[in-house]
Amino acid sequence: MDSALIPKGVKRCPLPVFAAGIAVVGAVVLWGVAGMLLCWLKGLNQTNMNDSYGFALWIWADLAVIAVGGGAFFTGFLRYIINKEELKNIVNFAVLVGVNCYVGALLILGIDVGQPLRGWFIFWHANVHSMLTEVAFCLSCYLGVLIIEYIPLVLENRQIDKVPFFHNLGHNMHEIMAVFAATGVFLSCFHQGSLGGVAGVLFGRPFSYREHLLVWPWTFFLFTWSAAAFGPCFTILCTKITEVITGKKLVKDNVIELLAKISGWMIFFYIIAKTTDTWYWAAHTAPAMGFELNDFYNNVLYGKWILYAEIIVGGFIPALILITKAGRRNPLLLWTAVLLATFGVCLNRWVMVCQTMAAPVLPFDKWVLYSPSWQEVSTTILPVALGIIVVSLSYRYLPVFPQEQELNPID
């Protein structure tokens, strides 16, 4: 029925089947919208946040989704600036995932603030000294860049491409894509970093506070590095999931392996840096504020296991798999690596947000624990469900994977 919209040379499932799949995800979206409306209309008392837990699931979700969305800027950097030609076969998808991640982040932020209608204050009345201001500006601008990187793909839809102006626009945008990609890298380095800065500047929270290099705490650089390192793993993970759902190979192995190798080495050196930073903080920074390492991990939930899980399970293990050829080529090991890497970076973001809030600072304070309400869970899953719909629509009607036709010839 919609075959005129489907790219030439590829097969797609019948429209009713597709619509049924979208309807299932749509139900999840509706659940998320219900939570969102409750929060907007009734207020943030719909959540399980409290005055000890001002930052909770949503802020973690923001940080995590932006970290994994870092695959977009880094893949763009490798493709357009470093000129890794093979990555042109996955960069469209990376950008698509990135757009969904950043739209999701802004959506969650719009629900999370107490007065969403005043959200523009962060731009109009900006405090340039605040890390959150840097986050808001660079995040919004980068979303603009991502949309600009996504537009040429939309313009390549079979019917839209027939319009001469749109064809020319897409062509011209492709020509100068390196300029947009470079700007995107610049903006990304800053907002990824300043998300780390959000936690690292808190000198009232010894758990997350770090020493500074000029005005930037070390968490600034670690966050940018981890987003660049782990983001491509999420891109690979999403690609693999898409291949499972569509039942087709969409990207050649050499492309995946190249991205995996680069990601693996980035993660390897990042984890060494992270371990060094953790050691220095535990040995010098925290004791100067009166805290020992054990003070931050003497809780049933927040025990030392979380430190080992982040650094070893979510760091060294995926790195060691991905830096070896055998690891990259073995499907089971590759899946394990990208899943653990995604887990590792998400766990890092959880620790920097939620463990920071949970850990007591005043000597007579207690640990505070938290579990999200259904409204928080549904609104966090909302952008994921929306992302699935957008990716599905894009995959169905746009030439997202340049190698799809070659890998799946139609008889």
């Binding site: 109009w124 405090n127 340039v128 601008c141 001469p164 020319n168 062509h171 947009f180």
Partner: protein, 52 residues
């Protein structure tokens, strides 16, 4: 955000932060403007007919 807003001060922090921001926005804006103008000119000159 703008020099005429109440919080603005011509200090190092504002110049660096806002300077960097407006620089990035200008590049993106100019890039898109170039693309749109060039696409318009190409369309007028008859390029972009039926392709694959």
């Amino acid at each position: 955000m703008f020099p005429f807003s109440f919080e603005w001060a011509w200090d190092a922090a504002h110049i660096v932060f806002m300077g960097g921001l407006w620089y990035a926005l200008s590049i993106v804006g100019l890039g898109m403007t170039y693309c749109i103008i060039k696409a318009t000119m190409d369309t007028i000159s008859g390029k972009g007919g039926n392709h694959h």
